[in-house]
Amino acid sequence: MASPAAGPPALVVDHLTKRFGERTAFEDVSFTIAPGEVFGFLGPNGAGKTTTVRTLGTLIAPTSGTAVVAGIPLTPDNGTEIRQRISVMPENPGLYLRLTVIENLNLFAGLYGLHDPRPRIDRALEAVNLGPRGRDLCGSLSKGLRQRVGLARALLSDPEIMFLDEPTSGLDPVAAREVHELISDLRQRGVTVFLTTHRLEEAERLCDRVAILNTRLRSVGRTEELRESLFSRSLTVETAAPLEAPEGVFSPTSGVEGWQSRDATHYVLNVGDPRAAAPAVTRALVAAGADVISIAEARHSLEDVYLELIDEDPEAAAR
């Protein structure tokens, strides 16, 4: 995984809020994205993800707060200049179905002021493996192929930041994997990607950092950091038969801070350093005459992190 480049941030969001009348779409959102970073933006339905993308894409004016997008302050006067430096792929790629793939891309090349667009169009189509389909009407393409045309369109202008809103929504696993590969390619090319998604495994696999939004920002960080901040580190132990006196085995063992049994033969031990504690736990179990099936560090997925953060949010419960 290529590291985000050093330099001025690609995106700075500071206490940004958007309200539609009495309804708050998102509130007091602040984060910074480094150039070349793939930033995941997660949250339940209605959390304000798409509205955030539309706001940063200058389609919607924020109610309060500030942002700097691709080095340009987000103000009404700067809309055109910001849009010149970014590209946004909405959840629905929104292609002109009566036009061919190339005609669709030609239109957008013209809107971005690209001179001699044909080589760029060819490159964009190659990047999404659509080279031979350029003359097909978009209306004749499958949903997955249309999504790829949408990505090709977003690539055309070599944007500094790409906003991808649910790019794999509704795609089958093969098409979704192809989109994942494209995003990985974008990372290699140093493009900053702002990815909103419901697919947590997608975010975990692709993103350098993730933010979890539920109207307010619940958390921002690397997946690993979020896990560590939310969950104590632990070892899971499985034995062939129930331990006769687990308290006598685990409590005196060096490095074990607490324990609980999940069922008769599975135990979860809270430890400060799993690698240091595992040998001591193994020795204690063997000394107690237990037949050990497995000892492993418990891994919390991004889904665990997400559910933990969303579940503790009273607004989510009300949704």
Partner: protein, 255 residues
């Protein structure tokens, strides 16, 4: 306001391509003019040399009125589709995320509706005059159709009525959520200027070149005012979310 001709050209080319491949629009552009052509053509053949001059004049007036309905109705059908059609297909949001300014988008759509509408209107007008010259049994019929006031009126009113109809159509389209409703409302809202044209053509107001030019100037001002109104109404946030942006309420919208 700075217009980028490259972006404007891209919108116009796209609009023409989409229009040419939309059977409903093409059908409207063909069927309506043909319908409006039928009555004058029949009259040309029907009017005998012995009809009074007043009947011939009335024929000329009603023919011009009928032909001037075309530059109102055809662009109304196209422009009423322009924004709500994009929204229905989901193409509006990607378009609005580009550097395209709203004036470029509006003018691009307007040009694409204007050119075929005015071209069709002039073509019909020429066709009626040529047929009258060739086939009318009464030479007075052809003469009545080429009176200077009628000619000036037709050449000036057709583009100006089309302009009015386009801006009204786009305004309705920006606020509608259904293409058919937008087309019906757009057509209805485009008709009022035709009332004055009707008064001139039916000689309630005495037709003259000066009157035609004066009314054309009024229409020109109305077109410019309507363009400015539509441009001010065309707010990205409202188009996408249905609510107006705080920027437009207090200051102005992003370009």
């Amino acid at each position: 306001m700075r217009l980028d001709t490259g972006r404007l050209g891209a919108v116009i080319r796209k609009e023409f391509r989409v229009l040419l491949r939309n059977r409903f629009i093409i059908g409207t552009m063909i069927v309506l003019p043909v319908v409006f052509l039928i009555t004058p053509m029949l009259e040309i053949f029907r009017l005998s040399p012995d009809v009074p001059a007043s009947v011939v004049q009335r024929f000329a007036g009603s023919t011009f009125l009928l032909l001037l309905v075309v530059p109102v109705v055809v662009p109304a059908a196209i422009s009423a589709y322009s924004v709500v059609g994009e929204r229905e297909q989901g193409t509006l949001e990607p378009l609005l995320t580009t550097p395209l300014r709203r004036e470029e988008l509006l003018l691009g759509k307007a040009v694409a509706a204007f050119v075929p509408s005015v071209a069709i209107s002039y073509l019909l007008f020429a066709l009626v005059i040529v047929c009258a010259q060739l086939f009318a049994s009464d030479p007075a019929v052809a003469s009545a159709l080429v009176q200077s006031s009628q000619l000036v009126g037709e050449f000036l009113f057709a583009p100006l009525l089309a302009g009015w109809s386009i801006w009204v159509g786009i305004a309705v389209s920006s606020r509608s959520s259904d293409v058919r409703v937008a087309q019906q409302l757009g057509t209805l809202a485009s008709l009022p200027p035709l009332l004055v044209v009707a008064l001139i053509d039916l000689q309630v107001l005495t037709p003259s070149v000066a009157l035609a030019v004066a009314f054309a100037l009024v229409l020109l001002v109305a077109d410019v005012v309507m363009y400015r109104v539509v441009s001010a109404m065309f707010d990205r946030e409202r188009l996408l979310t249905g609510s107006r942006s705080p920027a437009i309420r207090s200051v102005r919208t992003p370009g």
